[in-house]
């Protein structure tokens, strides 16, 4: 195969990979608004926070983070959402490891971790953030639901 053709094929491969990366970068961590979202059931979730079962939603907003095994972005996401909870009255961050909870993965259609569901004060899913949330996304979610 001529050198030009080979280099062209290689360039096409790099182009495809770069487009995929740019697409991922543009879409990851952004909130997708959910119309008529599911009601989250805390008993079914069986979430534990600081050693205690979680029995109440945040009085204004809840960030429900689904984490899993082999997830590089999960611990940093938990740290960011934990900090947000600490400085926002009425906000709650719950982290659930779904490694062995395929029932939850199926119920909420989790295809990647971290996936964060933004819940209103009644526990209704309002939006969905796939991947590590962008700072601007979190700010706008707070502006919409925690005012």
């Amino acid at each position: 195969m001529p050198v030009e053709t080979r280099l062209l094929a290689l360039a096409a491969l790099v182009g495809v990979a770069a487009l995929a990366g740019l697409w991922w970068r543009a879409t990851t961590g952004r909130a997708r608004r959910i119309v008529a979202g599911q009601q989250v059931n805390l008993a079914e979730l069986a979430a534990v926070k600081n050693g205690q079962p979680v029995t109440n939603f945040g009085s204004k907003i809840t960030f429900l983070q689904f984490s899993g095994e082999f997830c590089a972005q999960c611990p940093p996401t938990a740290r960011v959402l934990g900090e947000l909870e600490a400085k926002t009255p009425g906000a709650l961050h719950i982290e659930v490891d779904i490694t062995n909870r395929l029932d939850l993965a199926n119920r909420f259609n989790i295809l990647q971790t971290p996936t964060t569901l933004v819940l209103d004060k009644n526990g209704l899913v309002k939006s969905r953030i796939s991947g590590a949330p962008k700072t601007t996304t979190l700010e706008s979610e707070l502006g919409t639901f925690a005012i």
Partner: protein
């Protein structure tokens, strides 16, 4: 889950080297005169993935290079990451590159180029965008009950 923590820039540095090797492999594999060299290179890349998948990125030659040559020139990382995710990704690389080697041996045409191309995309995304495709598909595979 392993609690071993590593500098996330280490696996990314390794992915950059892997990206270059796999691009070279695709280039060599596309011409009949260098197809044998491409096959041998893919065997070597497969062996390197195997080291990473079995012993972890820190014990990989690239991890050693990073620790001794690169990291001293960088500041401390902002945060560490769990060693399990990049190690799993090495396993995915091993699977793809190894499949290319085996398929080539049993006579499947273009197996080397296709496997190297697929692995290239994953390594490129890891090196350039810090996107861990191997980690990403883990959960999808699990939900489809392909694993465990």
């Amino acid at each position: 889950m392993s609690t071993k923590q590593i500098d996330p820039r280490g696996p990314r540095f390794g992915a950059a080297i892997t990206t270059v090797l796999l691009a070279t492999d695709v280039y060599l594999g596309l011409d009949a005169s260098t197809a044998d060299v491409a096959f041998i290179l893919l065997v070597a890349i497969t062996a390197l993935f195997a080291i990473g998948a079995i012993f972890g990125n820190a014990k990989h030659p690239y991890g050693w290079l990073f620790k001794n040559l690169i990291r001293p020139r960088l500041g401390n990382p902002k945060e560490l990451e769990d060693a399990a995710a990049p190690q799993f990704a090495q396993g995915v690389g091993l699977f793809v590159a190894g499949a290319g080697v085996l398929l080539h041996i049993i006579g499947v045409p273009n197996a080397v180029v296709i496997a190297a191309g697929v692995a290239f995309v994953a390594a490129f995304l890891n090196a350039v965008f810090n996107y861990c495709l191997g980690c990403q598909i883990f959960f999808g595979l699990k939900r489809l009950r392909v694993i465990r």
